[in-house]
């Protein structure tokens, strides 16, 4: 997979789940960026990260009814949707941006999500 | 074309005379073709001949392009059917409308129905620009001004030149009304505005909810409008169960009570049942005080009009 996956992590959930993955090989090629909340991840930011060469952006937010800042992950979900639409327009495949609702102890599901994203990116790369 | 000044009549059209004489008038609808096929008009006209006092010639109904109302009206006149020309405010501004009124009169056409007109979104040219320079009530007031004040909208007198005699188009002015449209409580008031603007006769939208129509007529009578305006109740015979459901579900501002649908569902020959129900409805309408006639909108069923009119005991039509 050309370029890595940048994970924009809410520090209250995704960041902790990612940290507790420790040195799991699934994290190869995954660059974790800490945010105060997934609601800080902007559409423009996601697209700019892809522009700079990343293969994918994974936004990790808290489950919507457990969000520390009440509406953070709901806003992030809408912004990811706009980013995906933009990628579809650009013809570069919407799977390059993805949102996952991960609580801080959801480590297995996070690993699964990263694997699924890597697979989707490789599949798309094969096609592109 | 007789150009004599009809004594005491506004326009002297057959429809006007029938209504003035107190007969229960019968008008129908003749939908002009979506092509330049003149023959299609005369075929339909033949069905209606002798069965109706006048026939509405629709003006690009539901915003679908058809032969113009005035042209088709003139052809119907030649077949011995007196037409009711329709003018919608959707497609022409006040200049074009006034010139069409002069034209229609010169061709001997005397009845004009004033309509706001269906929004172009419903027709086959949804991307067209609409006009709506005026609305149906302003159009009624305009025709009255042309007839009675012998003036154009701008105030100029209707004469070929300063010294020429006044030659105004004497039109029997019609309007449409939907007794079931919201806001319900404003509907009678709106008819009052049309009366104030100078409408001579009204044809209502097709009626299925008789209770609500009778309630509307009560409000009309309370305002004494039935004496100032001749009201023709609109009816449309139901050809099939599908048509009944379509009218109920997809036509805005139209309420179709269940008993129409249930009766049709039970009937063997749906078309015959539709005709029978329509005849019964006309008989019931004749009993309502203030209803001066019936407007039979047999959409693409012109051939069954005589049968319905006969069934309702309205033949032969009076000769006035």
């Amino acid at each position: 997979m050309k370029g890595g996956i940048v994970a924009l992590c809410c520090e209250n959930s995704g960041w902790k789940a990612l940290a507790s993955l420790g040195d799991d090989p699934v994290l190869d090629g995954v660059e974790a960026v800490r945010l105060p909340c997934s609601g800080k991840a902007e559409t423009g930011m996601m697209l700019k990260i892809l522009e700079k060469g990343a293969a994918g952006v994974l936004v990790l937010g808290c489950p919507k009814d457990d969000c520390t800042f009440l509406r953070g992950s709901a806003r992030a979900q809408k912004r990811v949707a706009v980013a995906r639409a933009a990628l579809k327009d650009a013809g570069v495949g919407e799977e390059r941006v993805r949102m996952e609702f991960i609580s801080s102890v959801d480590t297995p599901r996070l690993a699964e999500a990263i694997r699924a994203m890597k697979a989707a990116l490789e599949a798309h790369e094969g096609k592109a | 074309m007789s150009d004599t000044q009809p004594q005491g009549f506004k326009a002297g059209s057959n429809l006007e005379k029938v209504l003035a004489a107190g007969h229960f008038a019968v008008t129908a609808e003749l939908g002009p073709p979506k092509s330049a096929d003149a023959e299609a008009i005369s075929v339909k006209a033949k069905f209606l001949k002798g069965a109706v006092d006048a026939a509405n010639i629709t003006d690009n109904q539901t915003a679908i392009v058809r032969v113009s109302s005035i042209a088709a009206g003139y052809l119907a006149l030649q077949q011995g059917i007196e037409p009711v020309i329709q003018i919608t405010c959707r497609d022409r501004n006040r200049i074009a409308i006034q010139s069409d009124v002069l034209g229609a009169y010169t061709l001997g056409l005397r009845n004009i129905l004033c309509l706001s007109g269906d929004h172009q979104k419903f027709g086959n040219h949804p991307t067209a620009k609409n006009v709506y320079d005026m609305d149906s009530i302003q159009l009624i007031a305009l025709l009255k001004k042309m007839r009675d004040e012998k003036k154009f909208a701008c105030g100029d007198e209707i004469r070929s030149s300063k010294k020429a005699p006044l030659k105004e188009p004497r039109i029997f002015i019609g309007g449409a009304e939907n007794p079931f449209g919201d806001p319900l409580e404003f509907r009678a008031a709106r008819l009052g505005k049309k009366a104030a603007a100078g409408v001579d006769f009204i044809q209502t939208q097709c009626i299925y909810d008789m209770e609500r129509f009778e309630e509307w007529m009560r409000q009309v009578r309370n305002r004494g409008l039935h004496e100032r305006v001749k009201i023709l109740a609109g009816v449309t015979p139901l050809k099939s169960l599908g048509m009944a459901k379509h009218m109920r579900d997809n036509v805005a501002g139209l309420s179709v009570p269940d008993y129409w649908i249930d009766r049709l569902a039970k009937a063997e020959d749906k078309a015959a049942e539709g005709i029978k129900m329509c005849v019964e409805q006309i008989e019931r309408l004749r009993g309502i005080e203030g209803v001066a006639g019936v407007h039979l909108m047999a959409i693409e069923w012109e051939d069954r009009v005589p049968e319905i009119v006969k069934g309702a005991g309205l033949l032969p039509r009076p000769v006035v």
Binding site: V6, L8, V33, K40 | -
Partner: protein, 494 residues
């Protein structure tokens, strides 16, 4: 000067020289940095070498975060001045160097962050004079804190933030208003009376359960209904308070006159002191409890009321007619008073009650620091629950106001030149931290209310809002997508 602290656990992963070359900064290798001694040794190096920004490289994120927190205290470095970077044991040297450079780039962009201490106003306002409100005031008094109680109806406006709320009241006489400041607000406004004019109520035939007792006591022998039905769980799940009220009302009715009584409910709620016994007494007195499933139909036909429902025990439709029916207000969806909710600026749940659907806020917190909710207005309608709520809220308010409100001034900053006053941030902020500064004609953040979540910055249509510690530049640096110099320079400092 930026210092990199390399923990010994990464010793063999990357050498000091390699790191110094890659990062262009002074490297301080250290022993077991995650231990207190490790942290102390770092603090010493920081003071000795005048380090103002520290990057700690460790093996596991959790430990490294803890180290940063303790290092901030030990070496009194401002927030954000200490950054942690977890080094994966695997990965090549080039990858590690790149992530160090990215972390350092982010560190360079971190501004100086001051904190502000404000003495909170010591008084608490309790909105609602019902049982819950009184319980909250008593709890506050026992904690030695003065409290003012008022009815929700007399409050006209609420502004400010934790420690400094300004509340306006209608004057007692009714003309004009006055304002007072409070440190915290406890909302115990209870549930508004069910509006007797709406469905399913029919005056005189189907009435609110709360009015049943005084209506019956006012009736003469002739007017007294021969039969009476109480309906619970009509629209939403009943509460124990509703169940208790139903049993008491039927027992009261039977004590006045011999009357046939039914109680229609989904199930009996007896989990409370004395409720089981009350339920038994009611049944012994002849009250018939009918458990129904799904919807219940009430028709005020003729002189009486027809009640139809599916009896889940018998498994068939049951229909009775009675002289009078009473429906429990708790079993009806009665949203909190909309005006009060708008003034408070806090979220509500699906039923419109003052309890945002978020487990972090249970039981008495709201989205806004310094505003607490207790009792029926948040759904805790049963007496003992409401009192416990009141005590929780009193304790939380007391705790908040017993120490100065310390605010880290890293709140959202609005660039007045770019702000188009589109109000997106004002409407979006879950904590009502964003307000409109009319003189400056721009949006402006209240530092004390800001929770530094960055939602506003993420949504501003003109990118006029920056969160100093999480600016675009810092985030892009950390994501390996180095920001172009121009966009970094434009970011506003606090």
């Amino acid at each position: 000067m930026t210092g990199i602290f390399l923990c010994s656990c990464l010793g063999e992963v990357c050498g000091r020289a390699e790191l110094e070359k890659a990062a262009g900064a002074r490297v301080f290798p250290g022993e077991r940095l995650c231990t207190p001694q490790g942290t102390a040794s770092m603090a010493v190096s920081i003071r000795e070498h005048g380090v103002d920004r520290a990057l700690v490289l460790g093996c596991a994120a959790a430990q490294v975060d803890a180290v940063c927190a303790s290092l901030r205290k030990a070496a009194c470095l401002g927030t954000g001045r200490v950054r942690a970077l977890r080094f994966a044991k695997r990965g090549n040297a080039e990858g590690r160097a790149a992530s160090v450079r990215a972390a350092l780039a982010a560190l360079d962009l971190v501004p100086e962050v001051r904190t502000r201490k404000t003495k909170p106003n010591r008084e608490v306002l309790v909105i609602g004079c019902g049982a819950t409100g009184r319980a909250a005031s008593e709890a506050l008094a026992s904690l030695g804190r003065t409290a003012l109680m008022t009815e929700a109806a007399s409050v006209t406006d609420i502004r400010g933030s934790a420690g400094r709320f300004t509340v306006r009241f209608r004057n007692v006489g009714g003309d004009g208003e006055n304002a007072r400041t409070f440190g915290a607000l406890i909302v115990a406004a209870g549930l508004p009376e069910p509006d007797a004019s709406r469905k399913p109520f029919v005056p005189g035939r189907i009435i609110p359960l709360a009015d049943l007792s005084d209506r019956l006591s006012g009736l003469s022998r002739r007017e007294f209904p021969a039969s009476l039905a109480v309906v619970l769980d009509m629209e939403i799940d009943e509460t124990r308070a509703g169940f208790e009220e139903a049993c008491r009302a039927c027992l009261d009715a039977k004590s006045l006159r011999p009357v046939e009584t039914w109680v229609f409910l989904h199930d009996a709620r007896v989990a409370g002191p004395g409720l089981e016994d009350l339920y038994d007494r009611a049944r012994e007195a002849g009250v018939q409890f009918v458990k129904y499933g799904g919807r219940i139909r009430l028709d005020a036909a003729g002189s009486g009321v027809k009640v139809r429902a599916r009896d889940t025990v018998l498994g068939e439709e049951v229909e009775i007619s009675c002289g009078l029916a009473a429906v429990s207000g708790y079993g009806l969806a009665t949203p909190a008073d909309a005006e009060l909710t708008a003034m408070l600026g806090i979220g509500t749940d699906a039923l419109g009650r003052l309890q945002e659907n978020n487990i972090r806020l249970l039981p008495e917190l709201t989205g806004r620091a310094g505003i607490f909710v207790a009792g029926a207005c948040r759904g805790a309608t049963y007496g003992p629950d409401a009192v416990r709520d009141a005590r929780n809220a009193a304790l939380s308010a007391h705790e908040l106001l017993s120490r100065p409100v310390e605010t880290e001034l890293s709140h959202a900053v609005v660039d007045g030149d770019k702000c188009a006053l589109c109000l997106t941030c004002v409407r979006l902020c879950p904590f009502r931290a964003m307000t409109v500064n009319a003189e400056k004609k721009q949006a402006e953040c209240v530092p004390e209310s800001c929770m530094h979540c960055g939602l506003c910055a993420g949504e501003c249509p003109n990118k006029a809002i920056t969160l100093p510690l999480w600016s675009d530049g810092i985030i892009l640096a950390l994501s390996g997508a180095a920001p172009d110099a121009a966009s970094v320079a434009k970011e506003k400092r606090p």
